[in-house]
Amino acid sequence: MSIAVVQETLTIEHRVLVPPGISGTVTAVSPEGEYRVEDTIAVVSGEQGETRLSLFHRWPVRKGRPYRSKALPNSLLITGQRVIDTLFPIAKGGSVAVPGGFGTGKTILQHALAKWCDAQVIIFIGCGERGNEMTDVLTEFPRIVDPRTGRPLMERTIMIANTSNMPVAAREASIYTGITMAEYYRDMGYHVAVMADSTSRWAEALRELSGRMEELPADEGFPSYLPTRLAEFYERAGMVETLGGREGSVSVIGSVSPPGGDFSEPVTQHSRRFVRGLWVLDRQLANARHYPAVSWLESYSEYVEDLGQWWESKGFPEWKSLRGEIMGLLQQENRLQQVVKLVGPDVLPDSQRIVLETCALFKNAFLQQDSFSPVDMFCPLEKQVKMLKLILLFHERGRRAIQKGATLVAVRGLTICRELMRMRQTVKNDEIEKLDRMAAELDRSMNELEARYERR
């Protein structure tokens, strides 16, 4: 229940909540006006006696805040990151872990989500990471305009800064502080996204504190209750009906920094059990400067099944089948690549090499996304779907042309194909219709190519 509202920033209306567990009759209410946070603004009498309510209340951070009921997450948290929205989506109220060795792009990805995802409130927990990264957010976010509200992103963002050189006890607590804030805004009826960078540092803080208390260590020195704590944390994500009857959600994206980049370590392994999505950052991709380095073979999202309807309701009924198609091609490509490694690409017939060609196009033009390019850093869903369709159209038409006798070299040589390669940088978000023209041009070029071979 909320009893008052305060305009916290121009973007966020702070709905003053009756603390959970308090009920009864309102016996006094202050008039509208200006108050200090601790001033009493209403009095409630009930079983627990008389309670004075002010603009804030306290909550123990280690305890999840109560709600009326949990619902299955079934609407997309739009992130504007193609590899995520299209291939491995996260639902509002969902939880995902992002494991990756150092420098594979966890923080940049988390920052991209904090900037572009369509949650209303962002809680960014810098947990045992670099000071400069926090500074980056602090200097950048006030300057970036939220495309949805037209206001600086900072107005919807809360940062919890506990850098690596700050006390570990505070680091251990920071995760709970963050998720509690998230629940608090959720209870006001907001969709909140929590980014925790990095949960491994939190786990290490747990280990350090546990060591000092001389508890018996389990796996790699971590305390035996590590999995329980991780489960408790991720369980606090969810889409709920709040005690006040509103809809709100907490989505959690936690990065994991496995020692030596080895995913068999406890934090990665246990996190996997408690999240429904995994965005695996691949060292090889990062070294090849394929960013975001999300592995399309190892990552998964259990939300795919639940989100088909959502995409349909937004006017993209074809999403699921397009996704299935391209995932199929990627699997096929993976098998073909093994052959190539053994005997070289020359051995494959053009009808198979077109699969490699399409996947190369997909990786370059679609999966890669430059977080520093103004054109590319955010990609609306419509653009994502159209780009994917174009790539699949290329595949379809390319295959047909090859069937009719064209060579792969001829297909590849088409001017339009080179344009497709660059489309993520050349097609701005407010000129998506260019993609339709490119599709028409692709059809035209392919028709022409086919005609040339038919005439022979």
């Binding site: 060795g101 150092f102 420098g103 810098g126 045992g128 670099r130 000071g131 400069n132 926090m134 500074t135 980056d136 602090l138 200097t139 800064a161 850098t163 690596s164 050189n165 700050m166 570990v168 540092r201 290490e204 280990r207 350090e208 060591g211 260590p217 790699e220 020195g221 920094s257 020692p259 030596g260 980049g261 080895d262 070294n287 090849a288 400067r289 005997v343 070289g344 020359d346 520093f372 390669m421 660059r422």
Partner: protein, 459 residues
């Protein structure tokens, strides 16, 4: 008069346990007085009721319980600071060891420093020209960055670091620049090499040296980087100087930490290193940066030798998790006689994008960087295929890439130890090499830059 305790109960490795103490606090410095009047120093690591665990910096050899007296000094480890520290040499404990007069401090600072609130930091974005192409063009260093060199034993990391220290400059002029050099457990020859280098180039007058050699007490190593950074912070934030801190070799530092941890019988984490290695290292590395309202800066270049050239070893691994990128040296390039043997593909400066482009270096920089990187990667991959399947498996285009990558290693990666290339010279070499590929292959560079810089055929 401070109390002297005769109650040393136990001495294990670098640690001693003093009993029946009172009023002693964590991290306090102690003097250990030997029967012959000699004095060593220690620091309180832990207090348990009336017992204090003291880590002895100079080591415990020759100390016997019952014979030594311990005096707690009521303060943490401090370094005396003044402008005069520039041009001087200290041991790991902050004592002058160059034979000159002692420093008359203007102030004392706790060597542990204080974490900087991210809000007070200024984001690093000023290009530092090191004169080394692989760094300036591909892995740009900026002021306030922490960029380590991951090396291996026998690789020329010291020469590279010395070259950087000698050549590094910002494209602006008239600023005060100094080097703070911290040696941890390196050999006499290595230390001498740096000393000669600094002396030869006159850098010694604007350097502060903290030296702990391989035969100095390992425990003293724990204090060295902290001393060095305390000096750096003073020079940068109080005197407004731009400081390059070279820490070498961090591997020796970590070994010392492991030694203490083992003596304390702590539960070890990976490969015997303590579980707090990450936190401990971050307390060193995070002391780089810039602070709002202060004109100076601290740029860190830690050097570490990877045991068995293994990048996943805890020392490079945890370092990589804290620093803003890494410069990797390659044994293969070194064996091929290429200096500096920078392994371009796995090296990365995470702050490069903030320091390059129009107004900072040149407008085509980002494009050239990405293109050189991509082309080199492609050339190396093609070369690998050729090794397995033979040259005949390569297309004519692939062969061009292979040639490119070979030439790239010779002309772009390779350069003289005395060769100080400015950024324009480095970019020019880059373009010359890109000229080996057809212009249509240059997909990462904007057409306008190709028009302007792509070498025309006549050349």
């Amino acid at each position: 008069m401070r109390k002297e305790y005769l109650t040393v109960e136990n001495i294990v490795g670098p640690l001693m346990l003093v009993q029946e103490v009172s009023g002693v606090s964590f991290a306090e410095i102690a003097e250990i007085i030997l029967p012959d009047g000699g004095i060593r120093h220690g620091q309180v690591l832990e207090i348990n009721e009336d017992k204090a665990l003291v880590q002895v910096f100079e080591g415990t050899s020759g100390l016997t319980p019952g014979e030594v007296r311990v005096k707690f000094l009521g303060k943490g480890l401090q370094l005396g600071l003044s402008r005069d520290i520039v041009g001087r040499m200290f041991n790991g404990f902050g004592r002058v060891i160059d034979g000159g007069p002692p420093i008359i401090p203007e102030k004392y600072s706790d060597v542990n420093g204080v974490p900087i609130n991210p809000e007070a930091r200024d984001y690093p974005n000023e290009f530092i020209q090191t004169g080394i192409s692989t760094i300036d063009v591909l892995n740009t260093l900026v002021r306030g960055q922490k960029l380590p060199i991951f090396s291996g034993s026998g690789l020329p990391h010291s020469r590279l670091a010395a070259q950087i220290a000698r050549q590094a400059k910002v494209l602006k002029t008239g600023e005060q620049f100094a080097v703070v050099f911290a040696a941890m457990g390196i050999t006499f020859e290595e230390a001498q090499f740096f000393m000669n280098e600094f002396e030869k180039t006159g850098a010694l007058e604007r350097a502060v040296l903290f030296i702990n050699l391989a035969n100095d007490p390992p425990i003293e190593r724990i204090a060295v980087p902290r001393m060095a950074l305390t000096a750096a912070e003073y020079l940068a934030y109080e005197l407004g100087m731009h400081i390059l801190v070279i820490l070498t070799d961090m591997t020796n530092y970590c070994e010392a930490l492991r030694e203490i941890s083992a003596a304390r019988k702590e539960v070890p984490s990976r490969r015997g290193y303590p579980g707090y290695l990450y936190t401990d290292l971050s307390m060193i590395y995070e002391r780089a940066g810039r602070i709002k309202g202060k004109s100076g800066s601290i740029t860190q270049m830690p050097i570490l030798t990877m045991p068995e050239d293994d990048k996943t070893h805890p020392i490079p691994d945890l370092t990589g998790y804290i620093t803003e990128g890494q410069i990797l040296l390659s044994r293969m390039l070194h064996n091929e006689g290429i200096y500096p043997p920078v392994d371009v593909l796995p090296s990365l400066s995470r702050l490069k994008d903030k320091g390059i482009g129009k107004g900072k270096t040149r407008e085509d920089h980002a494009g050239v960087m990405n293109q050189l990187y991509a082309a080199y990667a492609k050339g190396k991959a093609a070369k690998e295929i050729a090794v397995v399947l033979g040259e005949s498996a390569l297309t004519p285009l692939d062969i061009m890439y292979v040639k490119f990558s070979e030439q790239f290693e010779k002309e772009f990666i390779g350069q003289g130890e005395g060769e100080n290339r400015d950024i324009i010279a480095s970019l020019t070499i880059g373009w010359k090499l890109l000229g080996m590929l057809p212009a249509t292959e240059l997909k990462r560079v904007k057409q306008e830059f190709i028009d302007e810089y792509y070498p025309s055929k006549q050349l």
